[in-house]
Amino acid sequence: MMYGYEWDTTTTLSFALSILPILGIGLLVTLQAAAVGYAIALVLGLVLALLRRSRFKAISWTVACFTEFVRDTPLLVQLFFLYYVLPDFGIILPAFMTGALALGLQYSAYTSEVYRGGINAVPRGQWEAATALNLTRLQTYRDIVVPQMIPRIVPALGNYLVSMLKETPVLSVVTVLDMLGLANMIGERTFDYLVPLSMVGLIFLPMTLICSALIHLVERALPKSGIPLR
């Protein structure tokens, strides 16, 4: 029994159906972790991309080193680091927050590259027109550059959303009770891993498919020339 739900191991089908509500609770955690992680990745990635373009060499270099480092080290190592090392410095976060933060950090390094490519793809003439109209740097980004890069970066950002969603099960190694974590516990107690683990896989499939379809819809709905933010 878990979360008040009994499992029924008489047949494979009854077992699979009886653990669905439990996995459903795990799914909620999975979705929350992906949502929080993705929000961090979207915002932090943009900040990193902009800082990397700073005219101050010290800033752009630090940021470049940071993104390279995060991109080129395994998520699992970063996750363990945040979970086991941060408390040594007095920063104690709940397992869920640690996990979402690790996902967000790693993916912000990816998204920052997407943003960077998107910014570079805005034609020089647009920057020059903005300068000629005396817009400040901030106004140029906010009103001219970012709105035009959005349609260009949606496909790549969408891919990272799907990819992140599929990576959330790593959070189970730091005791987050997501779908995989719960499936594991069910396996430990019933000595049947096949059914719960297969169920996790089966639940992921439609989720990622739906996600991809939604991104495709968004992609097609966006005007190619860009969307004004104000």
Partner: protein
């Protein structure tokens, strides 16, 4: 004579090893309409781009409306703070060869953007002025269209309205008709011709339209290899060029 609104003194501009402007000297009076002509790579567009602060220069002094481009304590490639460059730019507007309208904004929004963001004008006031400007360039019926829905000539007329919305004292035209189909050149030149009657507006025009240059400008300057080889009042300049290099260029473009 009053002090010139634009004054280049011994300005040298290099791109790496290539010297684009070489000890360049050039004065423009307020309200003067000056056309810059010459072969490509002769430095005429660079003069405009330096004035618009799109390009830095290495040596010499440049003043616009009493403001020196380089600050004594200025740092970076422009040798001036962003704030100072902002102050300089508030006097200048520019119309580009490739229009450079903002594709994600309607025509009206393109014109309203900078007055609202930079001049802190109220949106309805800015829109009122934008409507006036669109009427002037004959495109009021296109105000809710997007740039991609307009012809090149229409886009360039919007770009002119957009530049004028910032009320510049100096307006720079960088080959405004070079990217246009021949049948669309006339409508853009028509708008520029209308501006030539604005008494206080100083205009610098880089163009290959010799007949138009002759008609609208107070002075024509012929550029070659980073220097002004010959300049003068258009009637005299075109009918009786003094320098052999000028004659050669004019005969090649007029008969070519």
């Amino acid at each position: 004579m009053t002090t010139p609104i634009i004054r280049f003194q011994d300005v040298t501009k290099r791109f790496g090893a290539l010297t684009v402007l070489d000890d360049f000297n050039f004065d423009v009076r307020q309200g003067e309409k000056v056309t810059l002509i010459g072969p490509s790579g002769s430095g005429k567009s660079t003069v405009l781009r330096i004035l618009m602060t799109l390009e830095p220069f290495q040596e010499g002094n440049l003043e616009l409306a009493g403001l020196s481009y380089h600050e004594p304590q200025g740092r970076g490639e422009f040798k001036a703070s962003e704030k100072h460059l902002h102050r300089i730019r508030s006097n200048v507007g520019m119309v580009f060869q490739s229009f450079n309208l903002f594709p994600h904004m309607s025509v009206l929004r393109n014109i309203v953007e900078a007055p609202v963001a930079v001049l802190k004008m109220k949106r309805d006031e800015a829109e009122g002025r934008a409507v006036e400007l669109l009427r002037m360039v004959g495109l009021l019926d296109k105000k809710d269209h997007y740039p991609s829905q307009l012809s090149g000539g229409q886009q360039q007329r919007v770009a002119i309205a957009r530049a004028l919305a910032m009320r510049p004292r100096v307006l720079l035209f960088d080959e405004p008709t070079s990217a246009l189909d021949p049948q669309l050149v006339g409508e853009v030149l028509g708008v520029i011709r209308g501006l030539a009657h604005e008494h206080d507006l100083t205009m610098l025009l880089v163009t290959h339209e010799m007949r138009f240059a002759r008609e609208v400008s107070d002075r024509v300057c012929f550029f070659d290899k980073g220097r002004i080889v010959e300049q003068g009042e258009p009637e005299r300049f075109f009918s009786n060029p003094e320098q052999p290099r000028t004659r050669e260029f004019l005969s090649s473009v007029l008969n070519g």
